[in-house]
């Protein structure tokens, strides 16, 4: 504890210097803007920022990158809520209830909720990261492949909560996503699968490209179909931000708390990350709610749960990075390369050799998450102006950014064509009520699921019971089955009750 106090003191001393503090501002600004632009994510901002950290010292560089990370995760909620186009998979869940709220004229409320929940989730998880870095890291290490598979399986089972009107359609979309993820060189044996002779397919289909296609381009096509009638449809109600009232906040407190715990916990496991966290907490919020049916039509819990969780995962993801030097996801992997450029290797040694760096990161993340409230309001005010822009102009801008987002990922035109194809697929899916979110969920989690499933079996000599007999993984599989069964049980129960009543 003494160590923590000294480290924090060092951190506060450094952060309060203006030439350090300013990088938190810059990072948050860049993160929120990139996160909020459809087709481009906060992760891309971090990747693109790394060359700019060359002239900075390591503390400045890390403050810049961590606040870009925090800002980016929040920023994603803006385009999810306003335009139904998430920039990163972790903000996919926010579209489920955020966009319906916008359509109902409640955009201000949704954005206000997103800002507050993001800030609360991020702030609390940064505090947890500071206080319990070391013990949580050892928990993360106790996870072996079967536990990871159980976790991913839990994420996949959320499909029952996010399928909208037709459960079967959702499951079909999930299976298609899982299958598309398995195209390409197999993760373990390195054998090309389903490439149908095309060398490009051998590299696999990138889920970011698919996501930009089905969400952003698909949405443009859907809107264009009805455009002439719609003209430039303005958002009804005042566009801006609307804070939660005390009453609303108290009603949400358990949802927020639960999502925060889920987010931090799933976030700190290497390789799992914010996407599973947001999906699982959305599923939990829905299943534990009094009226699951109203989810997806624009309820506050549906925005609060994923937004708290994905921001809580930011603090969580930093834990394995700082204590073990192991990246939990894309953003933290890029941060490692920023460390490396400075000749530092994140890991147990840095705690001893550079306590001022660790202290600054801790304090910096806590402050950055608090500043999200201010930045959120400014950004939301700026971005809601776009809703007043005629949709045709907005759509052309979004298409430009879709191209840039898809192209900049690998700098190959092939990805752009794939995106267009999935844009058309996304249009048909939306039109025929096949939910697109399970497709993305399957594509994100598919490779992880396969990898963990097969390596568990290799590790434990093809013993299938391993997933159930290990205590942590067994518990998670049970929870997953609850996710899977709950909606079915509810459906049967409701039918029976209505049958009894009549």
């Amino acid at each position: 504890m003494d160590w923590l106090v000294t480290v924090m003191e060092m951190g506060v001393k450094i952060i309060t210097l203006p030439n350090y503090f300013v990088f938190i501002f810059i990072g948050l600004f860049i993160g929120v803007v990139f996160g909020a632009i459809p087709g481009i994510s906060g992760l891309m901002a971090i990747i693109l920022l790394v060359p700019f950290t060359y002239p900075l010292d390591i503390i400045q560089a890390m403050l810049l990158l961590t606040s870009t990370y925090c800002g980016g995760v929040f920023g994603g909620s803006i385009s999810s809520i306003l335009l139904n186009t998430p920039g990163a998979p972790e903000s996919v869940c926010t579209t489920f209830d955020g966009y319906p709220m916008t359509r109902k004229g409640l955009a201000a409320k949704a954005l206000g909720t997103a800002i507050e929940c993001s800030a609360i989730g991020g702030f609390l998880s940064a505090v947890v990261m500071t206080v319990a870095c070391a013990p949580l890291a050892s928990v993360a290490l106790s996870f072996d492949s079967p536990e990871y598979f159980a976790l991913v399986f839990m994420g996949l089972c959320v499909v029952t909560s996010i399928s909208g009107k037709s459960l079967v359609n959702g499951v079909i979309a999930l299976f298609i996503g899982l299958f598309l993820a398995s195209v390409g060189v197999s993760p373990i044996q390195g054998v090309p699968r389903y490439d149908l002779g095309f060398p490009q397919l051998r590299a696999g289909i990138d889920f970011i490209i698919v996501m930009i296609g089905v969400f952003a381009l698909g949405e443009i096509f859907v809107r264009f179909e009805t455009l002439s009638r719609e003209e430039s449809k303005k958002i009804e109600g005042k566009v801006g931000t609307n804070l939660l009232t005390i009453k609303e906040f108290l009603a949400l407190k358990w949802t927020i708390l639960r999502s925060f715990v889920t987010g931090t916990f799933i976030g700190f496991l290497p390789g799992a990350g914010a996407t599973i966290a947001s999906f699982v907490s959305y599923g939990m919020a829905r299943n534990l709610s009094d009226d699951p049916g109203k989810f997806g039509t624009g309820v506050l819990e549906g925005v609060a749960a994923p937004e708290t969780a994905n921001n809580a995962a930011t603090g969580g993801a930093m834990i394995p990075l700082l204590t073990l030097g192991i990246p939990g996801g894309g953003a933290t992997a890029v941060m490692i390369s920023a460390f490396m450029i400075k000749g530092l290797q994140p890991g147990p040694l840095v705690f001893m050799t550079n306590p001022e760096l660790i202290g600054s990161i801790f304090v910096g993340m806590i402050i950055a998450n608090l500043l999200i409230i201010i930045f959120g309001f400014i950004a939301v005010r700026a971005f809601t102006q776009f809703l007043k822009v005629p949709y045709a102009i907005l759509a052309s801008g979004i298409t430009l950014f879709c191209f840039l987002g898809a192209f900049a990922k690998r700098n190959v035109m092939y990805d752009v064509w794939v995106m267009l194809i999935f844009g058309i697929i996304g249009y048909f899916m939306k039109k025929y009520e096949y939910p697109v979110a399970p497709l993305v969920l399957g594509m994100v989690l598919g490779p992880l699921a396969e990898d963990k499933f097969l390596s568990s079996l290799i590790s434990y000599q093809n013993d299938f019971t391993i997933f159930f007999t290990r205590p942590i993984s067994g518990t998670m599989i049970m929870v997953a089955f609850c996710f899977l069964m709950y909606p079915l049980v509810m459906m049967v129960w409701k039918k029976r009750r209505s049958a009894n009543n009549t």
């Binding site: 693109l48 060359p51 079967v168 359609n169 499951v171 079909i172 299976f175 298609i176 899982l178 299958f179 398995s182 197999s186 373990i188 044996q189 054998v191 699968r193 389903y194 381009l217 443009i220 096509f221 264009f224 179909e225 009805t226 455009l227 002439s228 009638r229 003209e231 430039s232 005629p390 949709y391 045709a392 102009i393 759509a395 052309s396 801008g397 298409t399 430009l400 950014f401 191209f403 840039l404 192209f407 900049a408 700098n411 035109m413 752009v416 064509w417 267009l420 844009g423 058309i424 249009y427 025929y432 009520e433 699921a449 396969e450 499933f453 097969l454 079996l457 290799i458 000599q461 093809n462």
Partner: protein
Amino acid sequence: MREKHPRKGGKIDGDFFFCLALIIAACFLLSISSTTIKVDENSLGPFFWPKVILVGMLICGAMKLFFHLRKRKSISEDNHVNVPTNYKALIFAVVLTFGYFLGIVLVGYPIASLIFVIALSYLGGIRSIKLLASVSVGLTLITSILFVGVMYISLPRGVWIFYDITNWFFSLIKF
């Protein structure tokens, strides 16, 4: 499209064909999931996982087809009474987007973007020339500066003379 199928009111429509296509696709993919590849003795092989997924897909497709054909009352009837769709605008939008991506390859990012923004906005009902011009120039310039000038992403430059034009433009905005 809307003709009723004689059997118990189940309809042959888009959904039906989709299920059929899904089942056929799953069967085809299962058939090419070769098992001849030699693998290590204690691993399930690279095609185990996709096969599980494909079987799942098959079951779902079959289930949906089964329920679809047995369904007495069609719910899709009341779903389709919503706003009549503007297929013309939709097809134009898709074609334009396709043309845009093709244009990027041929004439480079800046020129293609300039034309695309004007075209799509015009299609969407914007007729003010001033607005069209300023928006297209502004968007192209901002994105080019951001991605080429600031972030050093080498966006496509096109072919032939366009390569040199784009190259010249990019060299202007690089710091």
